[in-house]
Each structure stands twice: as C-alpha cells, then as structure tokens.
C-alpha cells in the first residue's frame, strides 16, 4: 500500500486506476478476509415499499406535493401555457429570460421557439447559450424536465450540451414545464428509469422545491444559492 500522494496526484490521465488505489483495495481485502459475507443484497421488488401506487391520480398528487414544498404550481393547457409564462415573468418584472429547451422534455425546441416569439412580441428579449457573466444576469430561466415524481414533487433535470448546469440553479427564479405524462408515482420509479439510461450523464439533478436554508435559528429562508422561486407549469398536452 504505497501512501505517496504525490505520485497519485500526478497521474491524472483518468484512464487507469492508480497503483496506490489498487494496492489499498488489495490490502483491505486481506485485512477483512475474516468478515463473513452473510447478508444478501435485498432484491425483493420495491413495489412493496412504494409510497404512491401507479393507480393513484398522479397529477393531483404531484401538484399538491409541489405546493407543499414551496413552489408555485399552475395547471396549464396547450392554449394558455404561453400566457401563463408571460404572467409569471411580469410578476418577476423580468428583463432577461433564459430559455433552455430539451427534446426529451416538455419544452421541445419547437415550443421554445413559439415561446421566444411570444415574448419577443411583448418586447422581451430571450437568451440562448449565455456566457458565464450573462448567466448571473438572468432574471428567470425556463426549462423542461425529464421526469417528475408524484410522491415528493421532485423534478429530474439533466444537464449537458443543451441545458447548462447553471440554468436551473443560478437565476433567482425558475419556471419548469412538466407534462402530465411525465409524472411517475414514486421515487423508486425514477431511479428505475435513470438506471435504464445506459450511460449516466455527467450531471443529473433531482430538484425538490426552491433553494432553502434554516441555518439561522432554524428559521426557513428560501433562495440562498439556487432559485428562491420555482414555478411549476403542469401541462395537459
């Protein structure tokens, strides 16, 4: 077990496991050889542990949980979702709006285009692929989500080439467009889905409500580092 950190700190190729790490695992194996392997990995189906069953009214449960974690939730249709976003932006007196579509989300590139058009008609410029500095100047971001969980009001957002990690994090307000069909019952279902993706993206976020802290005397304050306001538009497609 070589403990020289310098050698391992410099082998940053990232394509092979450094000798120090291998050596440690090897040493640990002989040190723990006496431990009996008697506990099987629990493999019973998680269906018995579900909080929300598939036959529940998912949209209703999701909407009520979203409200409970401190988000603004609105049921919208294909006819009025644009108006709803305009109204929210007015409420925030937004001057700088970031729109980040994703083909696997309810905010498809096509819908994003019509949103841009609608906002342009109101004289509101929208951003695409902002620089770092511009990201900090965004008032409101609009994104879709990959999945939403009825049990906990959690929304799964994948960052990558289309969506920046900062888009759902840095602006003080975030509007998330969620299609009814995207809602799964339970946290277990979300992880079944993620597990089936094959390759994990570099950064996946499960977002549940606004950024919050209770560090000062246990008093709840929202919007410490991430968005203090999260608006969820539940879209009936």
């Amino acid at each position: 077990m070589s403990g020289d950190p310098r050698s391992s700190a410099e082998s940053v190729t990232g394509d092979r496991v450094p000798t120090a790490v291998r050596g440690f695992v090897h040493a640990l194996r002989s040190r723990t050889a006496h431990i009996q392997q008697q506990t099987a990995l629990p493999d019973e189906p998680t269906s018995a542990l579900r909080e929300v069953n598939p036959d529940a009214i998912l949209a209703a449960r999701f909407a009520s949980e979203v409200a409970a974690v401190g988000c603004d939730v609105r049921r919208v249709t294909m006819e009025n979702w644009l108006l709803s976003i305009e109204e929210i932006l007015r409420g925030h007196a937004a001057r700088s709006v970031l729109i980040e579509p994703g083909p696997e989300t309810a905010l498809t590139p096509k819908r994003a285009a019509s949103l841009r058009q609608a906002l342009a008609a109101k004289g509101l410029a929208t951003m695409e692929d902002p620089s770092d500095d511009d990201m900090f100047a965004v008032d409101v971001s609009v994104t879709g989500v990959v999945t939403a969980v009825a049990e906990t009001a959690t929304m799964v957002c994948v960052s990558g080439s289309r969506t920046a990690r900062g888009a759902t994090l840095i602006p003080p307000a975030h509007i998330a467009l969620v299609a009814r069909s995207q809602i799964v019952p339970d946290l277990f279902d979300t992880f079944e889905q993620i597990s089936a993706w094959g390759q994990m993206p570099a950064n996946v976020n499960l977002i549940t409500g606004p950024s919050k802290t209770a560090d000062i005397e246990g008093v709840l304050v929202t919007g410490i580092h991430g968005p203090g306001s999260v608006h969820v538009l539940l879209l009936d497609e």
């Binding site: 403990g3 040493a27 040190r31 339970d186």
Partner: protein
C-alpha cells in the same frame, strides 16, 4: 458522570451551564425531532425501508473491497481521477498538490464532514489557497472563527445576534438580525466568490459502485454551485460511503432528509458521473475523487464495524438528551453526539476513549437512526474494550462486586455493609455515598436500603402466611 476524568467532567459542567447555547440547542433539536417524527409517520413503509437500508449497508461493508474495486473502475472509466489517502495528512497533501500543480487559488467548499475530519481548510490555507465555505452555517462558522457543533446544523449553538454581529464585523455590512436579510447578504457575498473560484471541494453522501456515480445532497444549492462553477472538482470520499446500485439510492434518499430535517426530499440531489463531457455547456473539466481511509479499515476489521453504516443524517444528535444539554462543542470532536461518541475514539484514539461513557444509554438514538445502528449496544461494546484503561478504583470496585456476588454469605455481608454506609438524609433516598460513591448517589435516585432485607422479611413474617 462519576467515573469521567476531571478534564472531561469540567468540560461537561461548563457546557451545561452555558444557558444561551443549551437553550438554542434545545429549540432547534426539539423542532427537528418533531419534524422527523411527523415525516416518518407519514411514510407508509418506514420500518421496512429502514430494514432494507440497514441490510444494504451491511451487505456492502461485508464486501467493501469488491465494491470499492467496482466503484473505482467505473469512476475511472467515466473520466474521474481516483486517488487514495491512507490518512488525513495524505488527503491534505493530495488535494494541495492538485491545487498547486494547476495553479488553483480560490476554492469553494460545500459542507463536508470528511474535509473537517482531515482539517483540509488549514492545509489549503498553508498552501496559499483561499478556501471559502459556501453552506450558510459553515460560512458563518468560518467568518466567526468558530467550530461547527452539529453535523447538519453547524451553527445550532449560535443565536441571530451573534450571527448578525459576526456578519457586520467581517463583511462590513449594515447590522441586521433578520434571517432573510442575513441570508441575502451571504448570498451576494458568495455569488461573487462563485463567479471567480477555480477549485470546488465537496464530500460525498453516497457513491454508486455500479456506475461510479457520486451523489451529493444540499438544500441550499451550494453543492450544485460547487460542481458547476470551478474548473476542477475534488470530492473527498470516505471509503465506507459505497452503495451497490443506482436503484438502491431511493431507499436512502427516502430516509435521509426525513431523518435530518423532516423533509421528504432535500431540495437538490445531484448525481455526478465524471467531469463535464466535451459537448457539455458548463461544469468542471477535471473530477478528482480522493478515497479516504483515515482509520476506516481499522474500524471495519475491528469490533464495532457497524459504526460505518452511518449516513451522517444527524438524527441521533437531535434525539439525544445528552447532546441537547451539552451541545456539540463539549464532545471536542468533529463528530459530536451519539455517533460521535463512537466515531471519535475509533478515529482519534485513546485520548477520546471516555466519550462512550457520555451517554445514558436511553436508546433514543437507536430509534431515530435511519439505518438502524444499535448505538447503545456499540457504546457498551466500546466501554467494555476500554476497561483496562479505566480508573483503578473502578476496576477494584467492580472486582469486589463480582467477588461479593459470587457467594451467598458475601452477598449478605455486602447488604449489611450497604445498610450501614448508604445513610439517609431524611428524604428516603440514599444521597450520601462514601468517597467516590457520592458522585453516583448525588445524581441518581437510589432508595435507601430497607432496615431488613427481603430474605429476613420472608423468614420472619411473610413466610408464615404461606
């Protein structure tokens, strides 16, 4: 507390007399205990989930080398660079070297117990890297040159006046006691840091062997900022944090936030697999995972390996009547509370071996633990291991006790002796034990021994009524 050393006894007495701290800790811990109870009660299968979580942790730790190997292989394949640190000094050296070789000067840190454990901030400061804590509580601890006193709520011991004073003094802002305003002052200050930082340092809540994924939980979003803004991300990972599969994560996620804050889910659960991909819009170009042993393999091979099941939720601290009345600093350790009383002597050795005795073994921690660690049982196990180093007088007394209990005549003699020595002050309770016994009788309700023993009563009166 009768058998604790003078130094520890002094520390405890001082802590219990610090009324503002005790009150602050009472306020927050009771609120958390209630919040936990409400949210766990709502969970339909809480017990089954706890059992499953416990079994997963046990399964992994029985096969830790295999899972570590799988994790390391997967993480490396995903583009992360994995390092191994046998101890705290090595971890500090590795991380300082990463900063030095890449010219990183401004580090942001997301709250992490392992980095506290290795005193990383001091090491980085010595290497001329500025480290800024970004969790609000840890940020306040840092600017006020204080120490965290709870693993989830680091400034549980501070009231808003102290916080307001520290912020006004250190940041030069207008004095305010309003938590909203204080939070927004911190937000503005830290945003500026996040724009300029080049190194992000985090701990890890769970590491998934199957995919090499790191799971990081925060409520504030500072963890996400830390893995979004800087160009290098260093994660310090205790070797015990491995879980087998992605599908095992929800078992823990369902329990963790409920146990620590009463939330069903924390605001942000971040899954990190490798550095940013070439086409990604933002994120660190390098991901370094530093595997930290620092005594963990000794614990795993030793008599209380279950300690490593801990997921650091802090529920046992909130539930503990001792913690509530002495606060975190009295433990004199990075890890306070019941779990700290186990971890501290195991990680830092004999100078802390009295800590397992700072407990009434009431069992509230065991009931609160999301992974069902039998903390009282482990405390007793550690106590018994420390026997040889106990005060000589205690060993003599225990030996005498064993001698006395072994023969009927010795037992009777003991009874007679007790009747003589445990005198009554008129209250019906024995309060004036002899010598060191006084500590014991002074704090516990020991009924004065009856004038006659049960055997005497039986022979003289009760026996006749048969």
């Amino acid at each position: 507390m009768g058998w604790l050393s003078g130094k520890l006894r002094l520390r405890l007495a001082e802590a219990t007399r610090n009324t503002p701290v005790v009150e602050a800790v009472h306020r927050v811990t009771w609120r958390k205990v209630d919040a936990r109870r409400v949210s766990m009660d709502k969970l339909r299968h809480a017990e089954n989930l706890r059992t499953r979580a416990e079994r997963i942790r046990r399964h992994v730790l029985e096969r830790l080398p295999d899972y570590l190997e799988q994790f390391v292989t997967q993480a490396t394949a995903g583009g992360a660079c994995v390092h191994f640190a046998p101890d705290a000094t090595a971890a500090d050296r590795i991380i300082c070297e990463i900063a030095r070789s890449r010219g990183l000067r401004l580090a942001v840190k997301s709250k992490s117990m392992t980095t506290e454990e290795v005193r990383l901030n001091d090491a980085l400061a010595a290497a001329d890297v500025r480290v800024v804590e970004t969790d609000l509580g840890e940020f306040i601890v840092q600017i006020d040159h204080d120490r965290p006193s709870h693993i989830i709520s680091p400034i549980i011991h501070k009231d808003r006046r102290q916080i307001a004073g520290a912020m006004a003094r250190e940041l030069g802002c207008a004095y305010t006691e309003d938590p909203e305003e204080l939070t927004s002052i911190a937000r503005r200050h830290l945003r500026d840091i996040f724009r300029r930082c080049d190194l992000g340092i985090t701990g890890v809540n769970f590491a998934v062997a199957e995919t090499g994924t790191l799971c990081l939980l925060t409520n504030e979003g500072n963890g996400r900022m830390t893995v979004t803004r800087p160009r290098v991300h260093v994660a310090l990972l205790g070797i015990e944090k491995i879980i087998p599969r992605l599908t095992d994560l929800p078992v823990f996620l369902k329990l963790l936030a409920r146990s620590s804050t009463g939330q069903a889910m924390g605001a942000y659960t971040t899954l990190i697999t490798g550095p940013k991909r070439s086409a990604d819009r933002d994120g660190p170009e390098e991901l370094h995972i530093v595997l930290l042993d620092n005594g963990r393999s000794d614990i795993l091979a030793g008599p209380v390996p279950e300690v490593l099941h801990c997921v650091r939720c802090g529920a046992c601290l909130n539930a503990c009547p001792v913690y509530r009345n002495i606060g975190g600093h009295a433990y004199n350790s990075v890890y306070p509370g019941p779990i700290g009383s186990l971890l501290t002597p195991l990680l830092w050795g004999p100078s802390h071996e009295e800590l397992p005795r700072v407990s009434s073994l009431c069992g509230a921690c065991r009931l609160a633990c999301p992974v069902k660690i039998d903390i009282p049982e482990l405390l007793v196990r550690l106590r018994s291991l420390a026997t040889d180093r106990q005060p000589r007088i205690k060993r003599w007394l225990l030996r005498g006790w064993a001698w006395g209990m072994n023969r009927a005549w010795r037992y009777r003699l003991g009874q007679r002796l007790m009747r003589r020595t445990l005198s009554d002050d008129g209250s019906g309770w024995a309060t004036r034990g002899l010598g060191p016994l006084r500590d014991w009788t002074g704090q516990r309700d020991l009924p004065r021994p009856g004038a006659r023993s049960f055997r005497q009563l039986w022979q003289e009166d009760l026996g006749d009524e048969r």
